[in-house]
Symmetry: C2
Subunit: 201 residues, 2 copies
């Protein structure tokens, strides 16, 4: 593209480094900011810098946090007997939005993936083991990992590592999504939904 | 959403003010920046601020520019006998990318739209009239506006205003897009492509 201005070109290059934003979308965003008040660009830039430089990670669950302990770990209203293990912050938000879980979390910061060169030592697993060891209040550990090859590998590894502590270990249910159509479900999911069928009480 | 950090929440709010970016995408972008080096966020923020505060508008064609005159208006290699009138900068980029046009541009900065309350006085029309009046080199004026109700209204208004100067006035061709299928073309476009048919020479 022949940009009319070097400054726009530089902004477009930086914006299009973000995931899922190409050159055309980046230009659209840049032109949008040019049309709006200068203060909006200033607010955006400040918010990005503050977020990047001032946030830290909760030293207990490794979630993104403004302080040493995140809002969930420091809340007195959470159920400290359940620990939910997830891949990253987005999973925490997704589970929090269901309003079905009141326990604590532990963020692995990724998933075991030999192809991507990510092994157990690259994840927050040692701190999880230490946490389970040192906090006798934990009674159940829920593995909430994606139902993929990597997710299953990670779950298998964690199960093995957590077994010695004699806690109840569970995983989130797999099955047909609510509102989903049996006819269009893949065989693996449908098969799993039959083998893990739930008896009416 | 229950954000784990106020700073992330503020960043997400600012990012999602951009057009076409919702809360979920904004969060994805924020988490992406958190994973990357601090310098990337700094570069992005700096580029946005520089673009917003340092760019100006070319005093001749009203295109976005780093200096008083934009790169196109100040280039000695452009054909100064043709003037192409467009709605905004994106149209200039689109036409430049075709490499089929070597003339100059005039950016209206919008389009006449009574519904949106935009009249001729809100656009760069007086400066266009002055430009055509003062530059005898201009021989042809091309109206490259969108084939919409507003675009046609604006073209009609401009035609009326430009008529006294006795220049050749043209508009970009409407018709079936190259690679387009006759069967799926709308009636108006197909009709127009028949009435404006081109004789083989």
């Amino acid at each position: 593209m022949n940009f009319p201005s070097k400054l726009i070109e530089e902004a477009v290059i930086e914006i299009s480094k973000l995931p899922g934003i190409g050159k055309k979308s980046a230009l659209r965003l840049a032109l949008h900011l040019l049309k709006r008040d200068e203060s909006q660009t200033q607010l955006l830039a400040d918010a990005l810098i503050s977020m990047r430089t001032k946030t830290t990670f909760c030293k207990k669950c490794h979630n993104i946090s403004d302080d040493e302990l995140c809002l969930i770990c420091s809340s007195p209203r959470r159920d400290i007997s359940v620990l939910c293990i997830v891949e990253d912050t987005r999973d925490v938000l997704a589970i929090e939005n269901t309003a079905q879980y009141r326990g604590l979390y532990h963020i692995l910061g990724g998933i075991i993936s030999p192809l991507a060169g990510i092994g157990p030592n690259d994840l927050n697993i040692e701190s999880l083991i230490k946490r389970v060891e040192q906090e006798p209040d934990i009674q159940e550990i829920i593995l909430a990992l994606s139902p993929t090859m990597e997710g299953d590998t990670t779950a298998f590894y964690l199960q093995k590592r957590l077994k010695p502590f004699n806690k109840k270990i569970s995983t989130i249910a797999r099955g047909i999504p609510i509102g989903g159509d049996l006819e269009y479900a893949d065989e693996v999911t449908l098969g799993r939904s039959i083998t893990s069928r739930i008896a009416y009480e």
